[in-house]
C-alpha cells in the first residue's frame, strides 16, 4: 500500500457511496488523502467531532458506511483501473489556475488529458440538446473556426449544440485542443450516441469530471458541471436555448464570475432561440460570426478562407422551394402553401434538394443546410 500515490487514495475516497464533493472537502480538510483514508479505516474519522458536526445529522451513519466500504475496497486494483484508462485524479492544489481561484472550486477532479491543454484562450459553446438544424450548423461552424483560430472549445458533450461544437472543433485543421466537462464518471459515456466524440476529445484534448469512475449521470451533477464549464471559459457563447433551458444555468454561473456571455440570435418563431433572444434583449453580445467572439477575446480575426460551395445549383423549381423553406424548420404543408405548387411537385423537388445537400429532413420537417458541408 505504501507504493500507492496520493491520487490512489483520493480515487478510493471519492468512490465511496454518498462521498459528494462537499462532503469530500470536509473529509479532506487538514488531512492528506492517505491520512484521511487511514483515519477512516482506524475509526479516527468516526470520532472527529468537527467532521460529524459538519456532516449534520447523518454524520455517524455516513462515516460508518464509508468505513465499512473502505475496509472491503481493493485500493490497488481501483488505482490500476484508473491507470489503465489513463485517468488522473487531482486534489485542489494541483488544479488548473482557473479552477483553483474559482469561488466554487471543485474538490477532486478526474481527468483524461493534461491540464496543459488549458494554457490558451478558451470559449465555451453551449446550448440545448433539442436544437434546430440552424443551431447545429452555427455550433459546428463556431467550433471549427475557433479551434482553427487557436481557441480551445469548452463544452459539456451533451447531445445537440454541445456535440456539434466539439465536432466542429475536431474537424478541419484545429490549432487548439477540445475541452469537455461531463456529469458522469469518465468511464460512463453519456449519452451513448456521443461515444466516438467522447473518445476523440479525450485523445486530442482534455476530458474532466468531478464524478468518480462508474458514477451515473445523475441530475444534480449537471448544474455543477455547468459551473465548471463557466469557470474554465474566458467567454461563454450560447447558440440556442429555450427560455428555461439548462444552458441558462451556465449563463448564470458565467455572470457570477464576470465572464462575458454572448448569444447567437435566432428566429422569433423558434422556441429553441427564445432563451438566446431573451439574453440578447438583456444585453448579451450578439454572435453573428466567429469574429464577434474573437473580438471579445481580444484576438484579431485572421483572414478567412472563402467557403467553397460545390453543391449542384438548384433549378428554378428547386430555388423556389428552397426559398419557401427559409431558414427555419418547415413542414411540407407550409412549403406547398408558400409555393402554390401541388404536393407531388413539391415533394419531388424536395427529394432532389435533399439529394443535392440543400435540405435535410428531420422527422416530418425540412431544414435548410448552409454552404459549409
Amino acid at each position: 500500500m505504501t507504493a500507492l500515490p496520493p491520487a490512489a487514495h483520493l480515487a478510493a475516497l471519492m468512490s465511496l457511496d454518498g462521498m459528494w464533493p462537499r462532503r469530500a472537502r470536509l473529509v479532506l480538510a487538514r488531512r492528506s488523502p492517505e491520512a484521511a483514508w487511514e483515519a477512516l479505516l482506524d475509526g479516527a474519522l468516526a470520532r472527529s467531532v468537527p467532521l460529524l458536526r459538519a456532516l449534520r445529522g447523518r454524520g455517524p451513519e455516513l462515516v460508518q458506511g464509508w468505513a465499512e466500504q473502505a475496509r472491503a475496497l481493493d485500493v490497488p486494483r481501483l488505482w490500476q483501473r484508473h491507470l489503465q484508462l489513463g485517468i488522473g485524479v487531482t486534489e485542489p492544489r494541483a488544479h488548473p489556475a482557473a479552477l483553483r481561484e474559482d469561488p466554487a472550486p471543485p474538490t477532486v477532479l478526474f481527468h483524461r488529458g493534461g491540464f496543459d491543454h488549458l494554457d490558451g484562450a478558451r470559449v465555451a459553446i453551449v446550448g440545448t440538446r433539442k436544437c434546430t438544424r440552424y443551431g447545429r450548423d452555427v455550433a459546428f461552424d463556431l467550433g471549427a473556426q475557433l479551434a482553427e483560430a487557436g481557441v480551445g472549445v469548452v463544452s459539456g458533450l451533451a447531445l445537440g449544440i454541445d456535440a456539434e461544437a466539439h465536432r466542429g472543433a475536431l474537424a478541419g485543421t484545429p490549432t487548439a485542443p477540445p475541452i469537455a466537462v461531463v456529469g458522469s464518471g469518465l468511464d460512463v459515456v453519456y449519452p451513448r450516441a456521443n461515444d466516438v466524440l467522447w473518445q476523440q476529445v479525450a485523445e486530442r484534448g482534455l476530458l474532466l469530471s468531478e464524478a468518480p469512475l462508474g458514477a451515473a449521470p445523475e441530475g444534480w451533477r449537471f448544474p455543477a458541471r455547468n459551473r465548471l464549464i463557466a469557470a474554465l471559459a474566458d467567454v461563454v457563447v450560447v447558440v440556442e436555448s429555450h427560455v428555461r433551458g439548462g444552458s441558462m444555468s451556465t449563463v448564470d454561473e458565467a455572470l457570477r464570475r464576470d465572464r462575458p456571455v454572448l448569444a447567437v440570435p435566432g428566429s422569433v418563431r423558434s422556441d429553441a432561440s427564445a432563451g438566446t433572444n431573451a439574453l440578447l434583449a438583456q444585453g448579451a453580445g450578439p454572435v453573428t460570426g466567429v469574429d464577434d467572439v474573437l473580438a471579445v477575446l481580444g484576438c484579431t480575426p485572421g483572414p478567412r478562407r472563402p467557403v467553397a460551395d460545390d453543391r449542384l445549383a438548384p433549378d428554378e423549381m428547386g430555388a423556389t422551394v428552397l426559398d419557401a423553406v427559409g431558414w427555419q424548420p418547415s413542414t411540407l404543408d407550409q412549403v406547398v402553401l408558400r409555393t402554390a405548387f401541388d404536393v407531388g411537385a413539391v415533394a419531388l423537388a424536395v427529394e432532389r434538394l435533399i439529394e443535392a445537400g440543400w435540405l435535410v429532413r428531420t422527422g416530418g420537417w425540412l431544414e435548410r443546410v448552409p454552404a459549409h458541408r
Binding site: T128, R129, K130, C131, T132, R133, G135, P191, E240, H242, S270, D271, A272, S273, P329, T331, L332, D333, Q334, V336, L337, R338, A340, D342, V343, G344, A345, V346, A347, L348, V350, E351, E355, R361, T362, G363, G364, W365, E367
Partner: protein, 501 residues
C-alpha cells in the same frame, strides 16, 4: 298440453332460430325455463306472468315447463318473452293453435303487456323461417329490411290475442317515425390550408390505406378525420345490410333503417379490449372494429390506448374480420375499416418541430415505446399536421369540397377494382411490378430512401402501393416520379424515432 312457437336469439351478429316449447301439466304451480337461458331470459317468467295477467289473459296455476330448442345454443336477452307468452296462450287455449303456425315472434314484454323492441332485430328476424314475424313497433323499421318476411308490428299482447283469435285485423303499419336523419358528414371545404393532410385523407379514401396524423393539440387532426366518411363512396347494398346487421346486433339506434353512410367510430382511449373487438357476455356484442366496418375507425391520442386494445386491432387489420372466443363458443364479425389515428408528437404537446419540444428524453422515449412497431407498420400514410400559421392560411386557396374529392375517389377506386379486383391497400408485393412499374427516377428515389434507412423493405412496397393510389386519383396510367415522391412524403418518420423494422 304442449304448444310450440318460433322465435330467435342472437349470437354475435347472427340470428339463430329458436323453437319455444311450452308444456303445461298438473302439479304444484311452477315455472321452469330450460335450454341455456341467460339471466335476462330466465327472468322472462316474471315479465310474461305480469303481461298475461294485466292483459286479462290468465295465468295457469299449474306446472309450466319452457324448453328453448336447440338446447345447446345459448339464449340471450328478452326477445323470447313474446314467443313464450304466445305459446302459453296456445297451451291454455286462449288463442287457436293454427293461428301461430306461420308466425315468428320477437319482442320483450312490458309488465303492462306492451311489446318492446329488442337489440339485434334485423339478424334475428332474418334467421326465422316464418313468412310473417310479429315485432314491437319500434323494431318494424329493422324487421322490414328482411325482404322475404312480412313484418307485423303490434303494440300490445292484448291486441295480438285479438288478431290471433280473428277478432281484429293486423293493426296498420305505424307511419314511419320522423326519421332522425344522421347528422351530415362535415365537409372538407371547411379545412383551410393543410394540403398534405387533405391529400392524405383523399388517398386513404381511394386506396383504403390507414393513416396516422402526428401533430400538436389544435392542429385539426380530429376535424380532418371526421371528414373522411364524406370522401368514401356510400355503402353498396350488400355492405349496407352487413353494417346495419352489426349495428342492430349492438343495439344501436336504427331510426333510418338501412345504413348507407360509411360509419365513423371514435372510441375513447379508455376503451377496454372487449369493447374494441367485441365479446363480453354470452351475447357477444360486436365491438368498435365491427361497428366501423365499411367506414372509419378513428383513434385519437393513439399513444394513450391500452396496449391490449391496440394489440387486438391486429387481426382485423390483417384479415378484415375479427374472431371473438368466449366460453359459449366463438363468433366471427366483419371488421374492415380505414384506420385513422392521431397523436401528439410527444407528451409536452408543443410543436413537433426541431427545437420545439420540452420533454425529457426519457419521457419522449416512454411515449414512443407505447406504439408497437407492428402497429406503426400498418400505417401506409404517416403525416405531420401542424397548426397552420396565419400568414400561410391567408394565402391558402379555399380548399375543394368533399363532393369533388369523393368523385375523384370513386374514379380511383373503380380504376383499382378494374385492374386488380380490389383496393390498392390489398395489393401484394408481387403484383407491384405489373400494376405500378418504376421509372428509373423513382427507382433511384426508393433506393436512396432505403440506403438512408428511411424505408424498410416492407415500407418500400407500401410506398409503391400509395404511389399507385396517387396515380389512380390523377387518372394516370403510369406512376410518375411525382406520385412516388408524394407517396414518400406521406410516409415520414413523424415522431423522429428512427426507422422501425
Amino acid at each position: 298440453m304442449l304448444a310450440i312457437t318460433a322465435s330467435a336469439t342472437i349470437a354475435g351478429v347472427d340470428g339463430r332460430p329458436v323453437s319455444v316449447e311450452v308444456h303445461v301439466a298438473g302439479g304444484l304451480p311452477a315455472f321452469t325455463v330450460v335450454g341455456l337461458p341467460d339471466t335476462s331470459c330466465r327472468e322472462a317468467r316474471d315479465r310474461v306472468r305480469a303481461a298475461l295477467l294485466s292483459s286479462e289473459l290468465g295465468w295457469p296455476e299449474e306446472k309450466v315447463t319452457v324448453n328453448l330448442a336447440p338446447s345447446g345454443l345459448p339464449k340471450v336477452g328478452s326477445g323470447l318473452d313474446l314467443a313464450i307468452a304466445v305459446a302459453l296462450m296456445v297451451a291454455l287455449d286462449r288463442v287457436p293453435r293454427d293461428s301461430v303456425t306461420n308466425l315468428g315472434f320477437l319482442a320483450e314484454l312490458g309488465l303492462d303487456g306492451a311489446l318492446r323492441p329488442v337489440r339485434g332485430a334485423l339478424p334475428m328476424v332474418a334467421a326465422m323461417d316464418r313468412p310473417e314475424v310479429v315485432v314491437a313497433p319500434g323494431n318494424h323499421a329493422e324487421a322490414q329490411l328482411v325482404e322475404r318476411v312480412q313484418s307485423r308490428p303490434v303494440s300490445s299482447l292484448r291486441q295480438l290475442a285479438e288478431v290471433l283469435r280473428g277478432e281484429a285485423a293486423w293493426p296498420p303499419v305505424p307511419p314511419p317515425r320522423p326519421v332522425a336523419t344522421p347528422p351530415p358528414v362535415p365537409d372538407l371545404a371547411d379545412v383551410r390550408g393543410q394540403p398534405v393532410a387533405r391529400q392524405a385523407l383523399e388517398v386513404a379514401a381511394a386506396g383504403g390505406h390507414h393513416l396516422l396524423m402526428v401533430g400538436p393539440p389544435g392542429a385539426g387532426k380530429t376535424m380532418l378525420a371526421k371528414r373522411l366518411p364524406g370522401l368514401l363512396p356510400p355503402l353498396d347494398p350488400g355492405d349496407a345490410l352487413t353494417v346495419t346487421r352489426v349495428w342492430s346486433a349492438a343495439g344501436l339506434a336504427l331510426a333510418g333503417g338501412l345504413i348507407r353512410v360509411p360509419p365513423f367510430r371514435a372510441p375513447h382511449h379508455q376503451i377496454s379490449s372487449v369493447a374494441m373487438i367485441g365479446g363480453g357476455s354470452a351475447a357477444m356484442c360486436p365491438g368498435e372494429v365491427s361497428l366501423a366496418n365499411g367506414g372509419v375507425l378513428f383513434l385519437d391520442e393513439l399513444g394513450e390506448f391500452p396496449p391490449a386494445a391496440l394489440e387486438a386491432l391486429r387481426q382485423p387489420l390483417e384479415e378484415g374480420t375479427v374472431r371473438v372466443s368466449r366460453v359459449h363458443g366463438s363468433q366471427t364479425y366483419p371488421a374492415r375499416f380505414v384506420l385513422v389515428a392521431a397523436m401528439n408528437p410527444c407528451p409536452c404537446g408543443e410543436s413537433g418541430a426541431p427545437g420545439g419540444c420540452r420533454c425529457s428524453d426519457s419521457a419522449r422515449a416512454r411515449y414512443h415505446r407505447r406504439l408497437s412497431a407492428p402497429l406503426l407498420d400498418r400505417f401506409d400514410l404517416r403525416v405531420v399536421v401542424e397548426r397552420p400559421g396565419a400568414a400561410d392560411l391567408l394565402s391558402a386557396p379555399v380548399g375543394e369540397g368533399s363532393a369533388a374529392v369523393a368523385q375523384r375517389v370513386a374514379g380511383a377506386r373503380s380504376r383499382a377494382r378494374a385492374r386488380s379486383g380490389g383496393l390498392n391497400v390489398d395489393l401484394r408485393p408481387e403484383e407491384l411490378n405489373r400494376v405500378a412499374p418504376l421509372t428509373p427516377g423513382s427507382r433511384f428515389l426508393l433506393e436512396r430512401a432505403v440506403t438512408d434507412g428511411r424505408l424498410s423493405g416492407r415500407g418500400l412496397h407500401r410506398v409503391r402501393t400509395v404511389a399507385r393510389t396517387m396515380a389512380d386519383l390523377d387518372g394516370a396510367q403510369a406512376v410518375s416520379d411525382e406520385h412516388l415522391a408524394a407517396a414518400l412524403a406521406h410516409r415520414v418518420d413523424p415522431l423522429g424515432i428512427g426507422v422501425r423494422p
